[in-house]
């Protein structure tokens, strides 16, 4: 036995082995101890009954009990007044924790630098139900939280490994980061994508200043506190795993035309254009001939040839896909058959793909300490070829209790991630190319090389998406991170605890990819290049705190003071070489290329920053009825100039437990009612460049070097102004007020938590756009902008048992907020983003008086159905402007859009208006869980209402002149015609115009509301004799369906558009869609 304990300390793996052996040799006498889960104190007087028998005993003063003569696999029932009854297998009853019947309200919750009983929390804190959360098979913790917590909006993407957009209570920064701060086991970090969700024990979200302000300058976007699991009681080995398949939407989800309909559309556009110009139509096309109806050719290369033509003789064919010089390329003779049936490009690049996760953990604990060891393998293959997310994580948490007063421990996780992704939101990605590539083009030419838009065929300039994906197959990339901390705690002088924690992360990454020359596309790159990048960095946080806890009668005080130092440093490098003799991935390296290795400016950088803070916190309550919290933090940051280095962030919160007052005591249906209020200041420095305070000169090979010697091939060093410095930048101040209440009614048949908040950011750091006269140097962040966000967080829960065998758990969350930009800077009343193909500013405008990322452009009020309508409008315009040449709207013509003039009588740039916003009116989640005997089930619904999506896909597919790519059925069948004026799309013409596809307008703005069945899970727990015989304490199997249906009016693939920045999101130009998943999983514990 002694040896076992020693082994456990030394080697967790050995420990597993021994524990397993010993559990097999269990005798039939059980000795155990019962603890209060909240404070780990023993509970005397607990009745322990052997289930199904009359055998029973009662725990003594130190909580211990002994029962003899038990059957193997017996189950013990523990009951006690004031505690929730539980059942535990006799084999695992050595250390039993019981939860207070006030249960969840009495749980200890980790908040800023300390822990509190949930019932004593005064700030707005959401405690996540980790078990419920983990029912989502998503790879990262942040994905899983969607719909689980009020006040948090999460937008995911189908792209494996793409971090979701995670917002706590909306926006706090115009241009900087809006991502929350994560604190894992006390160590602050900006990313938790590599944390194994199975390792998480608790998760709290600090939403208001009262709760979060103690994290000072990094708290403005809210704080997510996680603790990882630790061992408890006897050795326990668990396996949790699932395997499943993911089903993409295929079969022409964009409703593209067939090859012959593409040709018909061209004929239609030619005719319409000629009609508008009043000239006879002349049909002519290299592919389709010049008849009154188009004819599909047998070959697209050589252009328009028919079978039997000498030009399509395969002996003429020559393509060397790995060509290295232009002369070779010039000799190419391509022969490509037309795919008259049509290529469904989406089906070519999207395929069902597996997803799996396997997690093994071993844990245990005793008075001497505890340990946990876990391993996770997660592998999500993307439904889009050659995208995937593979993750390997190892964790080792341990704690050693030297004696009653000294504890030391560590939490350490190592992760390796292999995660190639595509850019998800631009016109050049694989999804976009799948709708842009015409269906008449086959995937391969007659010899199996790629086919494409190449040639004088008018097939547009899309690229072959299959080729593009396949060319990434040999690309490699790995990232890894060591994250964790070591800590020590000392209790002294009865009421004091000193804690020191040193933690942080070391990370590195490395990748290589090859740019192949292309030959199948209209616009081919002829260079071959090998790229390699790598980087590494570290940061550490050293936290020292002293806590004083004392109770005098009804007065309970907890006082904490401490310091925290943070330092970070890192660098990265990206290089490229060209001209490879062979493209064999085993051959290519940075030195085997014949070109000049060049450094990529964007991928090369170094950085360094530090923070130093003083922290204090007071929690006081009187009789658990009147509660007060106060925190203050003083942060210093290296990013500010000496005079403005420090910022002070105070916060106050208070709560009143009404339900403990005499006048409410009599209400039997009211179990708990607490009113809360808080006010405080949080800061932000995340978006701030480390060099913000300095005016600098910098050099850039592409921007400031010059061939002053006229060599044609070399450059001489030059300097340019790199940045305008702002030594006056200081901490921005986010003032946040919160008022809310928590109520528990009818013995938890209803739990309500509601919060209303207002956040005002003033002195917001904003990189003020300088007038062009100042040059192009980087602009400094200046404390100028103002923003206000107000919102309501609501969560409702219901837990009730219908009878002994049937119980339900229901929680619903509602999140709603309104955000308004109040001021940007003098002369900066707005800033734009996302020019896309309009090239006139941006379709997204962040402007004063509106919310972030609003859509902006001309509002369509209908079509011009006749020339008379246009003439009448022009007449009005002439009167309005007093200009006899004025026209109402540039390029107005019959069948085109008529824009709203906002009453001005003429359409000008001023007629543009806010057309919508991707911010929902509200988002909601509904979790339904239940248990019937050994069967359990859960459903998670998630929805957003009142959000819009800018569907930029329509620009490509619904307008004939928007490049000669694939077009939609809308363009051919539902565009304006004299005999079809009640159309969706405007008249199809040969050329674009301001009044059709040339200007951003409301045609692209769609309702993006949806309701999705995020998750459905049905599980069965095996509780037979055989499980007991095998020493199994838990064996559950489940089937699960994810994203089974989505109710939406959105016409694109999916209304949930992940990615984008805080000030520019919600634009769909071929987003990687969220996919359906079907999974089988088991949970097994010994």
């Amino acid at each position: 036995m002694h040896f076992t304990r020693l082994a456990c300390r030394a080697m967790p793996v050995l420990c597993l082995l021994f524990s397993f052996l010993f559990s097999q040799a269990q005798n039939q006498t059980v000795t155990g101890k019962v603890f209060n889960d909240a404070d780990r104190k023993p509970i005397p007087g607990v009745t322990v009954t052997v289930k199904g028998t009359k055998t029973a005993t009662v725990t003594n003063e130190d909580g211990s009990f002994t029962l003899r003569g038990l059957d193997p696999g017996a189950v013990l029932q523990f009951t006690s007044v004031g505690f929730q009854s539980i059942e535990v297998a006799a084999s695992r009853a050595d250390m039993v924790s019981m939860k207070s019947s006030e249960s969840i309200m009495s749980e200890l919750v980790v908040v800023g630098y300390t822990s509190q009983k949930k019932r004593d929390i005064t700030g707005a804190v959401s405690v996540v139900d980790v078990e419920q959360m983990n029912k989502q098979p998503a790879p990262t913790v942040t994905d899983k939280l969607q719909g689980q917590v009020s006040g948090v909006t999460i937008t995911t993407s189908g792209s494996p490994g793409e971090p979701p957009r995670f917002r706590i209570r909306g926006f706090n920064s115009l241009t900087g980061s809006n991502d929350p701060l994560f604190v894992v086991d006390g160590v602050p970090t900006t990313s938790i994508t590599d944390i194994n969700p199975n390792d998480i024990a608790t998760m709290q979200i600090l939403k208001d200043a009262g709760a979060a302000s103690i994290y000072g300058s990094r708290a403005s976007n809210g704080v997510v506190i996680l603790t990882t699991r630790r061992g408890k009681g006897k050795t326990r080995i668990s396996y949790d795993g699932f395997y499943g398949t993911q089903q993409p939407k295929i079969n022409n989800p964009y409703h593209m035309l067939s090859p012959i309909d593409q040709a018909n559309l061209k004929w239609m556009a030619l005719k319409n254009t000629a009609d508008l110009a009043g000239i006879p139509v002349a049909y002519s096309d290299a592919l389709y001939g010049s008849g009154s109806s188009p004819v599909l050719p047998d070959y697209i290369l050589p252009v328009g040839k028919m079978e039997g033509d000498p030009a399509v003789n395969p002996s003429l064919y020559y393509v060397n896909p790995n060509y290295t010089d232009q002369a070779d390329y010039a000799k190419f003779y391509r022969i490509t058959k037309a795919n008259k049936a049509g290529t469904d490009w989406m089906s070519e690049i999207f395929n069902p793909a597996p997803i799996q996760s396997h997690n093994i953990s071993a844990s245990g604990g005793s008075e001497q300490g505890s340990y946990l060891f876990s391993m996770n393998y997660f592998n999500q293959q993307g439904v889009l070829s050659n995208t995937y997310n593979k993750r390997y994580t190892l964790r080792s948490n341990s704690q050693y209790n030297f004696n009653k007063n000294i504890r030391i421990g560590e939490n350490l996780a190592y992760s390796i991630i292999d995660n190639p992704r595509i850019t998800i939101l631009d016109e050049g990605n694989a999804v976009s190319m799948a709708y842009r590539q015409q269906p008449i083009i086959p995937v391969y030419d007659i010899m199996g090389n790629y086919a494409g838009t190449f040639g004088p065929t008018g097939l547009g300039q899309a690229t072959n998406p299959v080729a593009a994906r396949q060319r990434t197959a040999n690309n490699k990339g790995l990232g890894n991170r060591l994250f964790g901390n070591v800590f020590g705690e000392v209790d002294f002088l009865k009421h004091f605890t000193f804690r020191t924690s040193f933690g942080g992360e070391y990370f590195s990454f490395r990748g290589n990819w090859f740019d192949y020359p292309t030959y199948e596309n209209q616009e081919n790159g002829s260079t071959n290049a090998y790229n390699e990048n790598s980087g590494s960095g570290f940061n550490w946080t050293w936290t020292n705190t002293v806590t004083y806890t004392q109770s005098f009668g009804e007065h309970n005080i907890k006082l904490l003071a401490g310091t925290e130092a943070y330092n970070e440093r890192g660098n990265m490098l990206q290089v490229k070489n060209t001209d490879y003799f062979s493209f064999d991935p085993d051959y290519t390296s940075m030195i085997t290329g014949a070109g000049n290795p060049t450094v990529n400016t964007d991928g090369t950088d170094k950085w360094s920053a530090s923070l130093y803070s003083l922290i204090a916190r007071l929690d006081y309550n009187f009789a658990g009825k009147y509660l007060i919290g106060a925190t203050i933090r003083r942060d210093g940051s290296s990013k500010f100039a000496p005079a403005n280095k420090y910022g002070v962030f105070p916060a106050f919160s208070a709560a009143w437990r009404l339900s403990d007052e005499q006048f409410l005591k009599g209400l039997s249906w009211l179990n708990d009612l607490k009113l809360r209020g808080s006010w405080g200041i949080m800061g932000n420095q995340l978006g701030l460049a480390a060099n913000n305070q300095f005016t600098t000169f910098a050099s850039g090979r592409s921007s400031s070097f010059y061939d002053v010697n006229g060599t044609s091939n070399s450059l001489i060093l030059g300097f340019q102004q790199g940045r305008y410095g702002n030594p006056n930048a200081k901490w921005e101040a986010q003032k946040s007020s919160n008022i809310g209440f928590d109520a528990t009614l009818w013995n938890r048949a209803l739990e309500i938590s509601a919060d209303y908040y207002v956040k005002s950011v003033s002195d917001m750091l904003y990189p003020v756009t300088l007038p062009g006269t100042a040059g192009a140097a980087d602009v400094p962040y200046v404390n100028v902008a103002k923003m206000r966000t107000a919102g309501l967080d609501l969560s409702l829960g219901s837990h009730f048992d219908v009878n002994k065998d049937l119980g339900f758990d229901i929680t619903a969350t509602v999140t709603t907020f309104k955000n308004k930009i109040q001021y940007i800077a003098d002369g900066n009343t707005y800033f734009e983003d996302q020019g896309r193909r309009f090239n006139s500013g941006g379709i997204i405008r962040n402007m004063v008086g509106e919310s972030m990322s609003s859509f902006y452009g001309y509002k369509i009020v209908g079509f011009w159905n006749s020339q008379a309508e246009i003439d009448a409008a022009n007449e009005v315009a002439r009167k309005a402007t007093n200009n006899p040449d004025a026209v109402y709207q540039t390029d107005a013509a019959v069948g085109r859009f008529r824009y709203d003039d906002k009453g001005a009588g003429i359409v000008t740039a001023d007629s543009r208006q806010i057309l919508g916003s991707p911010n929902p009116d509200f988002a909601y989640g509904l979790n339904l869980g239940g248990q019937w005997k050994d069967l359990d089930f859960s459903f998670t619904f998630y929805g957003v209402s009142g959000a819009q999506v800018w569907n930029q896909v329509r620009w490509w597919t619904d307008f004939y002149p928007s490049f000669a790519g694939g077009k939609s059925q809308t363009a051919l069948y539902d565009s304006w015609r004299p005999d079809h004026m009640n159309a969706k799309a405007p008249i199809q013409e040969n050329a674009g115009s301001f009044s059709t596809n040339g200007a951003p307008n409301s045609y692209y703005v769609e309702n993006g509301s949806y309701l999705r069945l995020r998750n459905m899970q049905i599980g069965y727990s095996f509780n037979g004799e055989w499980t007991k015989k095998l020493g199994i304490s838990r064996f559950r199997a489940y089937v699960q369906g994810v994203n089974l249906f989505t109710i939406t009016k959105y016409s694109g693939m999916d209304p949930e558009i992940g990615g984008g920045d805080a000030n520019s999101f919600g634009v769909d130009e071929g987003a990687y869609p969220v996919v359906k998943q079907f999974l089988l999983g088991i949970n097994l514990s010994f």
């Binding site: 002294f492 007038p771 062009g772 040969n990």
Partner: protein, 590 residues
Amino acid sequence: MKKTKYLITCSVLLAVSITLDSCSKSFLEKPLLGALTEPVLANEKGVTAILIGAYAALDGQNVGGGTWESSPTNWIYGSVAAGDAHKGSDAGDQPPINLIATGQSNPSNGFFNAKWRANYEGINRCNNVLIVAEQATDISAETKTTLIAEARFLRGHYYFDLKKMFNMVPWIDETTTDMKTPNNVDIWPNIEADFKFAYENLGGTAPAVGRVNKWAAGAYLAKTLVYQKKFSDAIPVFTDVINNGTNSKGDKYGLPDRFEDNFDPAQKNNKETVFAVQMVANAGTGDISSGNAGEMLNFPYGDSPFGCCGFYQPTFDLVDSYRTDANGLPYLDTYNSEVVKSDQGIESDAAFTPYTGALDPRLDWTAGRRGIPYKDWGNHPGKKWIRDQNFSGPYAPKKNVYWQATQDTYSDRISWAPGSAINIHIIRFADVLLLAAEAEAQAGSLTTAMDYVNRVRERAGKKESAVYTYVDNSAPLKGFTTTPAANYNVKTYPTGSPVFASKESALKAIYFERKLELAMEGHRYFDLARWGIAATEINKFYAFEKQFTSDILQGNFTSGRNEYFPIPQAQVDLSTKNGEITLTQNPGYQ
């Protein structure tokens, strides 16, 4: 005992924390990474490097503008807007250019903002040379003057470019502290002063071939005077430059026999070079931003060897201008009375015989047309290299296209469209001669004017300046025959030519010669505007060209408005100071 131990431990740790706090001052000092501050550069080497940076802004790339939006060639604003060329490509590509090409420029068109920003970044770099040079103590007076004079030359250039585009622009110099300066002062005198300073303080031979000298400054000064119609002030400067001027290497100004030398990167910085932007290929930047990225769209499309993108197609009007009469002279008024036969609407595999009428050979160095050698890339195959003939005609640009034989050296294929090491002429000697001719004609010296024009025409007529057929059409790299590729006939104006008998007629000939010689080089719009004939000429162009292509159907040049482009709306908005806008919009754009 135990208690004491804890107390000691805790005290030590607290002491550590407190020490850390007192150290926090230095802990929170992080150095500037990856950049320098002004004092480090306040020396000869540093100031020279800042000056190199000021030159580096000439290419318009990575200086706050766009790629083609701020191209130093002004191909969009100077040539497409003036009828030299169509935008090209197809209707949906780069739609803001459609509006510029049809006279419908509006202030929110992002192209103008890009152009504005790129020039002011150039100005900022020049001002920084002047500021830091004053702080440096190790520079000799002479070197310092040279550095300052070059910086002022470059600043003059950037302002000249702004002035001709936008007319009223704010003047920012090394003393300016308020960047929200109003545009209520005519800055011609400031530009003139900068060039004058450079003209008076620079030497004839520059420290490096890519740097400017006295004569470039003289030429630019004279050009500045011509733009202000100060013809008599310009004449002596022109005369000095023409008679005594040399390029930066010290070679006396002249016209090489081969017109194409101006566009052949192997012949860069020759005796015709007055002021050129130096371009490179494969110089280790990993992109083409130092190699004509501003022109990257302007190559034949389809199955051409260039890949992208079919922009910048010469117009029918321009091609017709190269028709010559029996005397080898241009048709100044009636050049469009006959349309040079083209392959518009004819598939590449259908037969086609090129135009047989007499032509100025400069045409075939300026516009690629079916059946004529496209440098050494083979005969232009017509429609299959064109993206959309109906939209923008059958012709291809040529001056910006590199040669196949030397493509490994002078082309850069690292990007999705080609870059090249072809220098961009801001001023070449032929330009100087024609401007001088204009000044002389305005002053009544018609003979001198004709001499200058004839020097330009004489070179055009040299056998080196003609285009010849290939030895082997299927192997263009084998070289050229001595058979001209078309019916070329270009001659000088004969002594006593009636064309140079009157000022009006002489000016017409000089203006037309500028069109022919400098076509597709970004000058015409600004020439037409300063001549006061932009509305007439450009509307005439729209009316004529409409018969062939659909891109300029909406074309309309509004007199009193379109002579200048609008002040970018973004800049007007950004000029707000205490709620008041300081920049005034140009007439017609309010």
